[in-house]
């Protein structure tokens, strides 16, 4: 499906298009100097059209690998080709010309970047015979990006949600790639230079750049993604224009090494400046669990409500990792309408991993920590600042000359009170961290999340309240022997 836009705009876009491949037909008008082709004021050129174009877009970097094929007639001998890319964001160091299937009979002799002609290069191609050959030009460009979006709509009972994934492709590259096969790479690669910066480098610096290894790094990073089945690539010239596409396009997903590649069915044209959103997947009935969590380090000092779901086959998902993106979460209100719950970013979710949607605080659940009691015991005194100590209350020898408190245990009893005014029972998981030498004494069946963090949970009936009573014993001063929390049954 092509995005609509007015003819006027299209003409403007066409005017600033890449001038693109000009095959300088061998005529007496062309004069050669050595092995470099240059043209004088009077030229004749032909412009072979693109047969197919493939975009491989990396979401982790502002980087797109473009591969395009054209059919060109070559004469026997030297054939000059000119390639230019005015007003686009192509990295000049990345442009390559190849001849699929013709490696022995045709080859590039040299590549020249003229010093006075911006965003242009010449190739001298040697052909062993007169022949028609399919050429493949590949290069990197910036300005094309993609991102993932998700829309999740929970049923009114909050037992399932429908999850739709989308990919949104934005084209700010200055070029329009018509009927392009679009592939999206999920994963991160290493780049030593930004393509957008390289695209701005003046032609005079190009040869200097050639001496460096930028190209090698970038090629290495993207090479494995380039190995698409060629037959698929070359077949995309067959347009879908005559078909009636009544279903959203399929987005095929396949793993490749540490990456995932999404290939959008058919071809796409995204005009320069436009963005287009396509559905990536749809899972109609993903089971969800609702959980309330208190984890200050993750969610701040509040009890938050979460939808928990799994990226697995049983959920109707699980065939692909979910790229990082923005998820909009809503709930059907039972009257045909929706209620907005939240919108937030989610990080990459591998296959089999859990998806957590944080809905924020729930005004229908009240979460309070109430201190019920404090007392101190096991108080030790230090005698005259020396190394003699004695315990207060012991019957043994008591020295009382300028004694100072040097160690004590502080007992604090708390109620973690949770009141549930929602219409159904809820599950609440609490994490609390304590510094120092601490004993956590309770009947809550707690466990340690780490050396200083206690985790406990409770179920609160609907319209009910629980008081999770626990005692925190902190050993202070001379009494502190450890730096950890110990669990103890009350």
């Amino acid at each position: 499906m092509q995005a609509p836009y007015p003819n006027e705009k299209r003409m403007v876009i066409a005017m600033k298009r890449i001038l693109f491949l000009a095959l300088l037909v061998l005529t007496p008008f062309i004069i050669f100097f050595g092995s470099t082709a240059t043209a004088r004021n009077l030229d004749l050129s032909t412009v072979p059209k693109r047969n197919a174009v493939q975009l491989t877009i990396y979401n982790s970097e502002d980087l797109t690998l473009v591969r395009e094929t054209r059919v060109v007639s070559f004469k026997k001998g030297i054939n000059p080709l000119q390639f230019s890319w005015a007003n686009t964001l192509i990295d000049p160091t990345s442009v390559e010309l190849q001849f699929p299937g013709k490696a022995h009979s045709i080859q590039v002799l040299d590549t020249t970047f003229p010093h006075d002609k911006p965003q242009m290069l010449y190739w001298n191609v040697a052909s062993e015979q007169e022949q028609e050959a399919k050429i493949e030009i590949s290069y990197f460009t910036s300005g094309i990006s993609w991102s993932a979006d998700y829309t999740a709509i929970a049923n009114p009972e909050e037992t399932f949600l429908s999850l739709e994934g989308f990919v949104r492709i934005r084209n700010q590259s200055g070029e329009e790639y018509e009927n392009a096969q679009v592939r999206l790479v999920v994963g991160s690669i290493n780049l030593v230079e930004k393509i957008a910066e390289l695209a701005q480098i003046s032609p005079g610096e190009v040869e200097e750049l050639e001496e460096q290894n930028f190209k090698v790094y970038k090629r290495k990073a993207a090479r494995q993604m380039m190995e698409a089945p060629l037959e698929t690539f070359y077949a995309i010239g067959s347009s879908r224009k005559d078909e009636v596409a009544e279903e959203p396009k399929e987005v095929a997903k396949e793993g490749l090494g540490e990456y995932f590649i999404y290939t959008i069915e058919g071809t796409e044209t995204i005009p320069n400046g436009w963005a287009k959103q396509l559905r990536s997947f749809e899972a109609a009935k993903v089971p969800i669990k609702v959980e309330y969590r208190y984890r200050p380090r993750e969610y701040g000092d509040q009890l938050v409500r979460l939808y928990l779901l799994e990226n697995e086959i049983a959920s109707g998902l699980g065939t692909t990792p979910l790229p990082n993106g923005r998820v909009q979460v809503l709930r059907a209100n039972g009257r045909g309408g929706l209620s907005f719950l939240t919108s937030h970013a989610i990080k990459y979710v591998p296959i089999g991993d859990r998806i957590e949607l944080n809905l924020g605080a729930d005004p229908e659940v009240v979460f309070e920590l109430i201190r019920l009691k404090t007392f101190r015991d096991n108080i030790w005194m230090q005698v005259k600042g020396g190394s003699i100590y004695h315990k207060v209350g012991s019957r043994e020898l008591q020295l009382d000359v300028k004694n100072r408190v040097s160690g004590w245990d502080e007992h604090k009893e708390f109620s973690q009170r949770i009141r549930n005014y929602t219409g159904k029972p809820i599950k609440v998981a609490v994490r609390r961290s304590y510094n120092g030498d601490v004993t956590f004494r309770s009947e809550l069946n707690p466990k340690l999340h780490d050396y200083k963090t206690v985790e406990f949970s409770a179920e609160v009936p609907k319209a009910g309240r629980v008081d999770l009573i626990h005692e925190i014993i902190t050993r202070n001063g001379h009494n502190a022997k450890q730096d950890r929390v110990k669990l103890e049954k009350r």
Binding site: R240, K241, V244, A245, L341, L372, K412
Partner: protein
């Protein structure tokens, strides 16, 4: 709708709606239809975001249709737009699906590509987050003459700065009935959301030095603020939902068929089962003089001490009606008043000489704050009030 506001759905029907419309086919002659809004729902149940949902009947032709949605000068969040077809997607008569969404450059618009198996109308619902539709709640409370009950009215104030008009829209605040109103551009509207008649109310008089301070510092007389306290539960005529934060104007029936304005206060967000407390001003007819009657220090060892304290309250009720006085004490505040300050919590016990009513209020007291209720008899006419003396005996332990 004003002319400068363009929220509309344009269904672009080319003369022949080709399954895939090649760019070359976009001629200068085209026909568009403008499906009007059939229904609008404004969802105000989220504290930060307003969700607007509008339904339109969109004529579609068999094949692929372009549905253009634009919102010039209106504060719609473009990433929030959802297009849903309400027709049964598996209907044999007409299956309608969204294929893609295109976003043109430098425009507040988008284009949905929608496929339809048959020509005919589809009922669609377009949802989006709208900025500029501001909401706040406020209350009007009228107390009965005897101050035992309140008639509470809850209002929603809607201020439309979104630069779009919504006619006859269904407005939902997440509780109570849905309202149907029109909201014009730049219009502010007060909507009655709920009315709670005869809400049981308790008028409180509170003496709490740490919280409210002195009325007369030299004479150690405490400030005695008055509040109406209403519990958000069904037994008291409320309890249907949390009460949102909002200003409350308070009136009182004057006993002659009219009402008098007695003040206003901010009502805090009040979950169900919690209490909303509305400040009415300072009572002049109840006098509480608070003094530290005893401060004894006992050294346990070295720099370790226990304290034996008595806080004395001399209370007079000049009103000719009995009232209940709430007396609050903060243990940290009491320790600081004695001249000792540290970061440790106070270890304390109630002493045997306490004459305040036995135990502190269990629901409203904790390890650092105590609340007692003291019943004060009415003053007899033509006579001085009886002075009631209460003592709070505190044993403060293990301080250094």
């Amino acid at each position: 709708m004003r002319n400068n506001v363009r929220i509309h759905v344009i269904l672009t029907l080319l003369l022949l709606a080709l399954p895939i419309v090649p760019l070359e086919a976009w001629g200068r002659i085209k026909l568009i239809t403008l499906p009007i809004r059939e229904r609008v729902e404004i969802q105000l149940d989220h504290p930060q975001a307003t969700l607007v949902e509008e339904e339109r009947i969109v004529p579609l032709v068999k094949g692929i249709n372009q549905v253009d949605f634009s919102w010039a000068n209106t504060r719609i969040s473009p990433d929030s737009l959802i297009f849903r077809v309400l027709n049964d997607p598996d209907s044999p008569d007409q299956a309608v699906k969204v294929l893609s969404v295109s976003y043109p450059p430098n425009e507040n618009s988008l284009v949905w590509a929608v496929s339809s198996t048959h020509s005919g109308s589809a009922q669609v619902r377009i949802s989006y987050i709208l900025d500029g539709l501001e909401k706040e709640f406020h209350y009007r409370a009228t107390a009965t003459h005897d101050e035992k009950k309140l008639n509470l009215a809850q209002y929603l104030r809607l201020k439309n700065l979104a630069n779009e008009e919504y006619k006859e829209s269904s407005i939902s605040v997440g509780f109570g009935d849905q309202l149907t109103r029109s909201v014009g551009i730049d219009e502010t509207k007060d909507l009655l959301v709920a009315r709670y008649p005869e809400v049981v109310v308790r008028k409180t008089y509170t003496a709490d030095l740490a919280q409210y301070g002195y009325l007369d510092t030299a004479k150690k007389k405490l400030k005695i603020p008055m509040h109406y306290v209403l519990k958000n539960d069904t037994a008291n005529g409320l309890g249907k939902a949390s009460l949102p934060f909002g200003k409350t104007r308070i009136f009182q029936e004057d006993g002659h068929g009219g009402t008098a304005f007695v003040g206003e206060d901010w009502g805090k967000f009040t979950p169900r089962d919690d209490e909303m407390s509305l400040y009415l001003g300072v009572a002049r007819d109840i006098v509480v003089k608070r003094t530290i009657a005893r401060k004894e220090r006992k050294r346990i060892n070295g720099n370790l001490y226990n304290y034996d304290l008595i806080v004395k309250y001399e209370i007079e009720n000049f009103k000719e009606s009995p009232v209940t006085l709430d007396i609050g004490e903060t243990l940290r505040g009491l320790r600081a008043e004695l001249g000792y300050q540290n970061q440790r919590d106070v270890q304390w016990e109630l002493g045997p000489e306490t004459t305040l009513l036995g135990k502190p209020d269990g629901e409203k007291s904790d390890a650092d704050h105590l609340l007692f209720h003291v019943d004060l008899p009415a003053k007899k006419p033509e006579s001085k009030p009886d002075k009631q003396i209460c003592k709070l005996h505190i044993l403060m332990k293990n301080e250094w």
